[in-house]
């Protein structure tokens, strides 16, 4: 596959970093891809805006940071305002309609999906919002197979939570596929 550069951005509690790790790990361990994940730490660990970079490629990845993402996910207005302008022309910009109003014109495919509301309605547990987001992303892009993600979740999440996560993932997949081109 061509080198894909992603930036996940949002705020502390949203599980943005976890999502980025799951995606990268799924690609690296179950899709035979190379993957690098790097998150930026604030001057201190105190909450605020978070950002995680993921690079996926079938070649070696040397430079581990993303300067211009071809896929950008913004889960807060703050993140959107801060990062939306660095996306590569023709890239994909995914936001959640509950948190972000896409005010800007950017030379990229801007997709706005009600992932958060869907999670609240269908599952009722905000913790799995990030997994739903991941599902949506995969539905849109097929960067990795859903099974790969489930494998990773299986390794990391207590079994009794696994089902809820699967549902969130599938919920997202649906949302993603339905709005995929």
């Amino acid at each position: 596959m061509a080198r894909t550069r992603l930036i996940f951005s949002g705020s502390g509690g949203q599980g943005v970093i976890t999502a980025s790790i799951i995606l990268a790990e799924a690609a690296a361990l179950y899709e035979g891809l190379n993957a690098v994940q790097a998150q930026s730490y604030g001057p201190e660990a105190r909450g605020g805006a978070t950002r995680a970079d993921v690079i996926l490629s079938d070649e070696d990845i040397r430079f581990p940071k993303v300067t211009q993402p071809n896929i950008l996910i913004c889960l807060t207005q703050e993140a959107y305002n801060k990062f939306s302008w660095i996306i590569r022309p023709g890239g994909l910009l995914l936001t959640d309609s509950h948190f972000v109003i896409q005010e800007r014109k950017v030379d990229a495919r801007q997709i706005e999906i009600g992932m958060y509301n869907a999670v609240i309605q269908e599952i009722g547990r905000p913790i799995v919002f990030n997994i739903c987001m991941l599902g949506t992303l995969i539905g849109l892009t097929r960067l990795v197979g859903p099974e790969a993600v489930m494998e990773v979740l299986g390794e990391t999440i207590p079994s009794d939570f696994l089902d809820m996560n699967r549902r969130a993932l599938e919920l997202g997949l649906g949302l993603g596929e339905s709005s995929a081109p």
């Binding site: 993957a35 994940q37 001057p43 430079f63």
Partner: protein, 382 residues
Amino acid sequence: MSKKTLFLQGNAVCVEAALYAGLDFFAGYPITPSTEIAELLSLKLPLKGGKFIQMEDEIASMCAIVGASLTGLKSMTATSGPGFSLKQEAIGYAVMTEIPCVIVNVQRGGPSTGLPTSPSQGDVMQARWGTHGDHSIITLTASNHQDVFAMTVEAFNLAETYRTPVILLFDEVIGHMREKMEIPEPGEIPLVERLWTSVREGTDFHPYLPREDGRLPMSDFGGIHRYNVTGLIHDMWGFPSNKPDVAHGLMRHLVDKIENRVHEIARYKEYYIDDAECILISYGSSARSALHVVENRRARGEALGLLELQTLWPFPADVIRTRCAGAKFILVVELNMGQVLQEVKKAVADPEKVFLANKIDGTFITPTDIRNVLRLIQGKGV
């Protein structure tokens, strides 16, 4: 996919490697960006019956691992700049008493509190000269997780081989980023175990009487031989002495055992060196950006090469002199104001051909940063 393939942070890889190498004792004090090492070991050491302790500060941590090492356990501590400065006195003690141990410094932006969560390679010279008095020390680094594993195991092996503290100089990028790596099978990387004395109970054991090959066999505290260990200049009994010949002998031994073995200790990697007109020299995370540039340029047919240093101290000057002899110019790529640059200038015949591409603003050096400097050198402007 094999169970041995993992996707981890560099700090976690360091932990896996230390355990692979036989780590049994860790003492530390939390500090960004090294803290994950302590956090992971606080669970993984007891799992194998090893010992983890969070001490009251970095000084105590350094002292504790020296004490533990004397009982025969492979020991390690981990810290970053401010803590590394605090450990210097005790590191000097480990050097003087020749106690094997490993000190990890995951570098962050300095000086002082600096930029705690930003990448930097500003402690290279401190690793060599941070403690008082003449001495020598081994320092290793790595640019990717497979090498982080290899160099961490190396560190424990060299510590035992030369009875010396070994410093692992990583940086925030390597410590925090995640990538794929393979855990070698047990035995796949040979381990150097402690060299115990063959002297029997009852016969005199001289803890500081080197063998023919220069190595010093040890005896565990709590074992059959009772001897003295001191940070004062000491004789073969480990007892304080201020006889000039004793002092001279010890000083030479401490330095020569390392400086005379630069070649044995030198670890480095070469990429497209042989016909390279321009050789980049780098290490740690910045070597990733350097390699990125080299590979792109090679693809475009340009004769660039990379010499990646993994042993920083003793500095492999000969390697650099010989391997870079053919190069028209040399570009050192690092995240500081030119610490390795100075050593490279010392090493090569004509220092004028050595240039620097660096970053000191807390951000990571990009291929573009390097390309800009290359253009300047090649007179193409930026």
